[in-house]
Symmetry: C2
Subunit: 219 residues, 2 copies
Amino acid sequence: MSPVKVFGHPMSTNVARVLLCLEEVGAEYELVTVDFLAGEHSSPQHVQRNPFGKIPAFQDGELVLFESRAIAKYILRKYRTADLDLLAESSGIEESAMVDVWTEVEAQQYYPAISPVVFECIIFPVMRGAATNQIVVDESLDRLRGVLGVYEARLEKSRYLAGDSVSFADLNHFPFTFYFMATPYASLFDEFPKVKAWWEGLMARPAVQRVCKNMPTEF
Amino acid sequence: MSPVKVFGHPMSTNVARVLLCLEEVGAEYELVTVDFLAGEHSSPQHVQRNPFGKIPAFQDGELVLFESRAIAKYILRKYRTADLDLLAESSGIEESAMVDVWTEVEAQQYYPAISPVVFECIIFPVMRGAATNQIVVDESLDRLRGVLGVYEARLEKSRYLAGDSVSFADLNHFPFTFYFMATPYASLFDEFPKVKAWWEGLMARPAVQRVCKNMPTEF
């Protein structure tokens, strides 16, 4: 069986989400580099894989998928075992609902708060040579502080976001939090000891370490 | 068995998403009004249900959920039958992956393009008395035109977004498209005949009609 293919670049947060799922389940895969800094994601070849011209795209035999969260779920279902069900779908609809709740919290509450800090402090300066908009940073940090307060309360009740086992909901936090920790504001997490311990626990996972080593930490 | 409860307001797009799923599966439910225009979503009572103080929240016996997409999936799983599986999870991982792909496309490509038009033309003027920012509207319409071009190509190949059956991916487009059709830019859809027919097909669904009748159409 030929390995599945990921089309993208390991520096991209959306690609990192997919790679982390592949590493967590121990799947064999091939990363085909699409250099988005050089505009290769807009090439006709890549647009055939993803009509929106974004990375990543994914191929498993005849099946071609795009949208990183959808790809990630496909991977977690395909390689699911009795011991490794990161969507909790075999545990019952209440358990999988908790994974969905905290996966959506990442997308709807956490990401809109943390991502502007990463964009303003790292992505825009490095990719566009733009100055950091400190007003955006400060507003986002305030918002993130509020979100992390809710997470702290949640993690006082359960070890991970969706319950006492790690799930896709936790893994989804990796890419942007990883880059946030390279901004001057990483110490915000010190205000939330349960959140900080949860993050350190995620970072210590061997799969996370394998994905990290291809992501830049200095800008 | 007592009916499930939705806490929210039928005017809210995120509440409408949940109500539509309940109507599609024919579930008995109770809508408990949380008047977000009066700030009731920030009340301690509601924050106990949703720690982020947003609507909707959802209750099924002891289970309390928040985040409308997570609630919607729980409903579609709970009331799933052999004939009615709007997540396609019983069809196989490739079929459910296509539902996930187009559900994510709605969230990541369609919503960011269509929602600013609705915010600028309806929500901000009505709720905040603010003027419409025409630059934002025009940029969003350009972006939406690009997205609808991809949809048109997709709907030339399959009747619905994820395949030949209606799915959660299609339903997710209802709330914002409904309000978009009340803006001065509804005719944009005329440029995309397959998309327009798909939308009219969605609007003709009895479940959609039942949800619509509690949503305002004049502003």
